[in-house]
């Protein structure tokens, strides 16, 4: 809240944190994508795609309700999308070959509603029986769109960028949260010169033009509704629908291009930001590349994996099989637990926020001791904390020294009095390695006495990842009858033409070996 008020006082958005918390790939490794759809429909009506700094490719169809036409539109885009993302992925199992973080290829979209289009594409095409010659390409489109959508909900994901969300995560905009979901509004604040009034006026002017894939109803009423009627009339009457089609394409071109340009502008704002990308982002990119392999490339190649499960096509709605649901959930939980831990060591403002919230603390070292027996080492420190400051320490809380990720200690004893909070910790991880920072000394070195050391709460991401793997082996346990799912039936979708499409869930693929 203080940041919002400060930004209001200053009359401009302020940087949030000292570093950027997301990778910004070079322009030639970025594909910007924007959609337009007909209101009430789930599939695209027009798509724009291309690299920043160049003219986008734009394709549309005259009527967004005509399934075969829309399939053709999607097929035109799908090849480029798949080629773009796959070119940046690890091409070997990252368990044996570490992925290259620099190879990351990103897809930028204007906002969450455009990302939701990926979900709808997953529903429509990942198992479609239709599409004629394009069927396999459409299915591949559905699969990659489904993966893209699912990965956006994993904290720390790096491949798919919600431009609006990344801007608001990187800047404090002094406005209502609902408004900051509008990319044009945020860019109005960020890219307009002048005082608060000037920026606010620009933002509010931009807000009048929709960014969502659904257009302003006024535009659909006039001119699109009439043009679409004309096109359909001409088609039905064996007339010439080309003129109406061209006029529709012109309107849609303008609409989708404007959305695409906003996402491009967001990319340019972030590349021009003089803050560094947080060093911890490299680890996030590596994690993302692993996810890209395990959850997309591996499955495209139909490789089963003992820790990640068999290669199955994820159902667009949810994971029905107990193992697939729990495995994915725990992997997302591990990503969430580890996220701040990757970044906090390289961002003072983030550390300060944790300090205010009691998720970090600084303390003076009062005692250094070795409680080990024989040849084992168990360095212990006694720390003094300011008891008036917030903290979340309990006995058994695990902590890590700021700037030295990998070192870890556990809280053994807390002694609180009115004037003092004394905490005894025992080093448990990398305890025979020097701590990074000014001293570069081992934890058991008495040079630490009297020093002030900053700590953050350690995360349990590694343990959670272990648990995510175990849910697959647990499927062989005697309790799996309860824990691992129930029989399901394929979902039938009957179209307007009475033809039936089927969607098979993960249970029939995993348990019954049915191939999609």
């Amino acid at each position: 809240m203080a940041g919002t008020l400060e930004a209001w006082r200053m009359g401009r958005p302020l940087p949030r944190y000292d570093t950027l918390h997301h990778a910004i790939a070079p322009a030639d490794q970025v594909l910007i994508v924007a959609f337009v759809r007909m209101a009430g429909e789930s599939r695209p009506w027009a798509i724009a795609w291309g690299a920043p700094g160049a003219a986008p490719s734009i394709a549309s169809v005259p009527d967004g309700r005509v399934r075969d036409d829309v399939a053709g539109l999607c097929a035109a885009f799908a090849g480029d999308l798949i080629a773009h993302l796959s070119a940046g992925g690890p091409h070997l199992d990252p368990a044996t070959t570490a992925p290259d973080p620099m190879a990351l290829h990103q897809v930028w979209l204007p906002n969450g509603q455009h990302i939701a289009m990926l979900h709808q594409v997953g529903y429509t095409y990942s198992q479609t029986r239709f599409g004629g010659a394009n069927r396999d390409l459409l299915r591949a489109f559905g699969r990659i769109a489904g993966w893209m959508f699912r990965d956006t909900s994993r904290v720390g994901n790096q491949h798919i960028v919600d431009a609006s969300a990344l801007l608001t995560a990187s800047y404090v905009v002094p406005a209502q949260r609902v408004r900051t979901a509008h990319l044009g509004y945020v860019l109005g604040w960020l890219t307009t010169d002048g005082d608060r009034e000037a920026r606010l006026a620009a933002a509010m002017a931009a807000e009048r033009l929709t960014v969502s894939p659904t257009m302003d109803p006024a535009t659909e009423r006039e001119p699109l509704a009439g043009l679409v009627d004309r096109w359909n009339d001409a088609r039905r009457a064996d007339g010439n629908p080309a003129a109406a089609a061209a006029q529709i394409a012109t309107v849609l071109d303008g609409e989708v291009r404007r959305r695409w340009r906003l996402a491009e502008q967001a990319y340019l704002v972030l590349t021009a930001d003089d803050r560094p990308v947080n060093e911890g982002v490299t680890a996030l990119v590596t994690e993302s590349q692993r996810e890209f392999w395990y959850q997309y490339l591996r499955i495209e190649q139909r490789h089963a994996d003992p820790d990640q499960g068999p290669a199955f096509i994820a159902h667009p709605e949810t994971d029905f099989h107990g193992s697939s649901a729990a495995s994915r959930y725990l992997i997302h939980e591990a990503a969430d637990e580890g996220y701040i831990g990757h970044l906090i060591h390289h961002d003072h403002a983030l550390f300060q926020e944790a300090l205010d919230d009691g998720r970090a603390f600084q303390a003076q070292v009062l005692g250094v001791d070795d409680a080990g027996t024989g040849r084992s080492t168990a360095p212990r420190w006694v720390l003094r904390l300011d008891p008036t400051l917030p903290h979340r320490l309990r006995e058994t809380t695990r902590v890590a020294p700021l700037g030295s990720r990998g070192h870890e200690a556990i809280v053994l004893v807390l002694n609180a009095s009115a004037d003092d909070l004394l905490v005894t910790i025992e080093w448990t991880a990398r305890k025979t390695k020097p701590l990074l920072g000014p001293l570069q000394a081992l934890p058991m070195d008495h040079m630490w006495l009297g020093m002030t050391v900053r700590f953050v709460l350690a995360d349990a991401a590694a343990l959670t990842l272990r648990r995510s793997r175990r849910v697959w082996s647990a499927a062989a346990g005697p309790g799996a009858w309860l824990t691992h799912g129930a029989p399901t039936a394929p979902i039938e979708i009957t179209g307007d033409d009475d033809r039936v499409d089927l969607v098979l869930d993960d249970i029939v693929q995993i348990a019954d070996g049915v191939e999609v």
Binding site: E317, D319, A326, R466, P478, G479
Partner: protein
């Protein structure tokens, strides 16, 4: 209902559970109201099954809960062989019962009939070569389905018992993807079982019949937080707090009292409310100035260690501790999350909606208020700004949850409103008059 009748219901439930598992039953879920003797019931049922030759794993949610279960087992059923299975590096506490074997290696797990107690976390990472005959889970509503899944290797049969009214486990990640999964990994394990129609035929369902902790007259106030009915075990008029102050009249009847402070026109403080903290301090002072605690036939003066204080915000708890002064060393002040499983004769609670004029779904989650309203054995004193009733009446709940999920906001709003209305109907809403001037 008479105590004999309630005791009979307890016995019927225990017998039913024993018969269910002895006959090869695969699954049971038992709901327990607060302070209803669930661990006692668990020990009784499992002891009988173990005596009948079953090899049983017990999952507790924390190491201290696991140790506590072992203590209670030894004192109530010393004839049963009990083993505590713990992580390497964790040593038994000095007072840990010697009768219980302490093992850390999977290879040392007992192979004969008896009870082995460990935490869920420990079981979830253990590969057993010989699965147990039954896995019994204590505080089961604190265990997510993903945690239970890891335990599929431990046993093929499950008994879950817990208090569904308590604060649910924290879910930090975006779980929309799994909200409609038939085995939603983030949901409390018993809720997944109870929501699955196909399990109805194999699952023994039951609930413990009575709350044994709260005064008889306090029990109706916590019923809105539960979807099953239960009795008060404590007889009417048996527990109370008597003191001179007029505001404390309901306490003398075993009924909770809510002391309200006026809400400033510009709005109440949101997190740290020093007036409420000062009121809490005054209440404690008045309690320690000759208030009488009545617990059945026993009567004595209230002592500092009899009193607990709770509010939702850590920062408010710090203000409460500061306001209490030196007595804070003996009066436990903590969040409701940390009060779960604990009790005190007298509890002082800052209403979780005090200062919250526009409640969110988080604010309306009933677990916090339920925990606050169910820790006392004699008296409950709530402190709050007086806007809460109007805030609840003005609030229009929105049910935006995922398809098939329960209407948590609607239910929370309804339970909050019923709790508040019950206080009003009992004459328990009392304006706090600052006695310090």
């Amino acid at each position: 209902m008479s105590l004999a009748a309630i005791d009979s219901e307890y016995l019927t439930l225990q017998v039913g559970l024993v018969e269910h598992f002895a006959a090869g039953g695969m699954l049971a879920v038992i709901k327990a109201p607060p302070g209803s003797g669930k661990t006692h019931t668990l020990i009784e049922v499992l002891s009988e099954l173990a005596a009948g030759g079953m090899r049983i794993a017990v999952a507790a949610q924390t190491n201290s809960q696991a140790d506590d279960v072992c203590h209670r087992w030894v004192s109530s059923h010393p004839e049963i062989r009990v083993t505590r299975f713990a992580s390497q590096g964790l040593a038994p506490a000095p007072d840990f019962p010697r009768e219980v074997s302490w093992v850390s290696a999977t290879s040392e797990l007992p192979t004969a009939a008896g009870i082995t107690v460990a935490t869920t976390a420990k079981w979830s990472l253990t590969n057993v070569t010989d699965p147990f005959d039954l896995l019994a889970i204590d505080e089961a509503w604190q265990m997510g389905w993903a945690d239970l899944m890891q335990c599929a290797l431990i046993s093929g049969r499950f008994l879950m018992i817990g208090d569904p009214g308590q604060i649910p486990p924290v879910v930090a990640v975006d779980v929309r993807r799994w909200e409609t999964s038939p085995r939603a990994p983030h949901l409390p394990a018993p809720d997944v079982v109870l929501a699955e129609p196909s399990l109805a035929g194999v699952c023994f369902r039951g609930s413990l019949p009575a709350c044994r902790r709260l005064p008889h007259e306090s029990v109706p106030f916590v019923r809105p937080f539960y979807d099953f009915d239960f009795h008060a075990y404590v007889p009417p008029g048996a527990r109370a707090v008597r003191m001179a102050a007029a505001w404390a009249e309901p306490l003398a009847l075993g009924v909770p009292v809510a002391l309200t402070l006026p809400t400033p026109v510009a709005g109440p403080p949101v997190e740290v409310d020093h007036l409420v903290a000062a009121a809490a301090s005054d209440v404690v002072a008045q309690l320690l100035d000759g208030a009488e605690l009545r617990m059945g036939v026993q009567r004595r003066q209230v002592r500092p260690a009899d009193i607990g204080v709770t509010s939702s915000h850590r920062i408010m708890n710090a203000a409460l501790s500061a306001a209490l002064g030196v007595v804070a060393n003996e009066v436990r002040v903590d969040t409701p999350e940390r009060w779960q499983g604990l009790e005190r004769p007298v509890m002082i609670a800052v209403h979780p909606l005090s200062g919250v004029t526009e409640p969110s779904s988080f604010d309306l989650e009933t677990g916090r208020l339920c925990v606050m309203a169910s820790r006392h054995t004699a008296g409950l004193i709530l402190l709050t700004r007086d806007h809460v009733g109007e805030t609840l009446r003005s609030f229009v709940p929105s049910a935006g949850q995922a398809p098939g999920r329960p209407d948590v906001v609607g239910r929370g709003h309804d339970a909050h409103l019923r709790f508040w209305d019950a206080l009003a109907a009992a004459g328990s809403l009392r304006a706090w008059l600052d006695t310090t001037g």
